[in-house]
Symmetry: C2
Subunit: 176 residues, 2 copies
């Protein structure tokens, strides 16, 4: 059983997902004006979420009552987080274990979050679609959404839309 | 007399304008399928073009009969190019001299090209609009369109459009 994976993420126009200190106020302050940009409709379509340690820490920062993932399977990739750190999550030590366990569980539609995890899955050929909401701001430095690649990756543009709050939303399918 | 400046440029989805060896085949091969993406209509609206040395070398590589700038004023920013290298161009040694001369000439609408020159003009507050044609490909490394900034720059999204060839074209006005 294999799964498809869709990245749903916000970036600055210069391609960053967070400042060097992990701050995303430049994104969320604009996102509040924009509504949810389709996030909850997207979230309803996925049955598992995986993220890196930084992204997990951000989700914790929202507060327990704001855990957005409901009862979905949530995986966190981390070499240091204790395995029993949080009953809502499964801790994975490496990306191969993560992929194998998701397949064993019969995951159908995966939502991977966080820059390094997205880059690892992309290089492993396990990302199928991108929904990128581009905030109308240049922040100059930070954690980029994309990273080095062994070779070019071609995509198919499914749509380009101007949303409220000045966001441009780009939908892509990865060509395999 | 001051001028307004519009950047018209193609990038990969990961924000590069050229590979490390200056190759842009990943862009032009897709651009050929897409038509001119509005470039010649845009070019008709400008009365001066400025570029860095790398971009000038690329323009030379297209061949003399393919010089796209007609009789427009063309400036090249370079510390090493001889002043009389090419009768079609004016060589500028620094960005302040470039800006002052364009203003003295009564330039109304400037087309700045090339990553470093665009970044310098942006940091100097002299870029007014961006028209970015995003090619549907990730190339992993190269020369980025955007660079470090002393502070955030907010933009207004004027439009987001899916064009032929899988290009997404984003039109922004810089907020000042």
């Amino acid at each position: 059983m294999t799964f498809s994976a869709t990245v749903f993420i916000g970036t600055s126009l210069d391609g960053y997902i967070a400042r060097p200190d992990n701050d995303i106020d430049w994104l969320t302050s604009r996102g509040e004006k924009a509504g949810d940009l389709g996030f909850f409709e997207f979230l309803n379509s996925v049955d598992a979420v995986v993220m890196g340690r930084n992204t997990y820490n951000q989700a914790l920062g929202f507060g327990e009552e704001n855990w957005p993932y409901g009862t979905r399977h949530v995986g966190v990739l981390s070499t240091t987080l204790p395995a029993n750190a949080d009953p809502r999550i499964t801790v994975y030590r490496d990306i191969d274990t993560l992929i194998t366990d998701l397949e064993t569980r019969g995951t159908e539609h995966l939502y991977p979050d966080g820059g390094r995890l997205i880059q690892s899955l992309l290089r492993a050929g396990r990302i199928d679609r991108f929904i990128i909401s581009v905030a109308p701001v240049l922040i100059g430095t930070g954690f980029p959404l994309f990273g080095d690649l062994p070779e070019d990756i071609s995509l198919h543009l499914d749509s380009a839309t101007a949303l409220s709050g000045g966001f441009a939303q780009l939908h892509y399918t990865v060509q395999k």
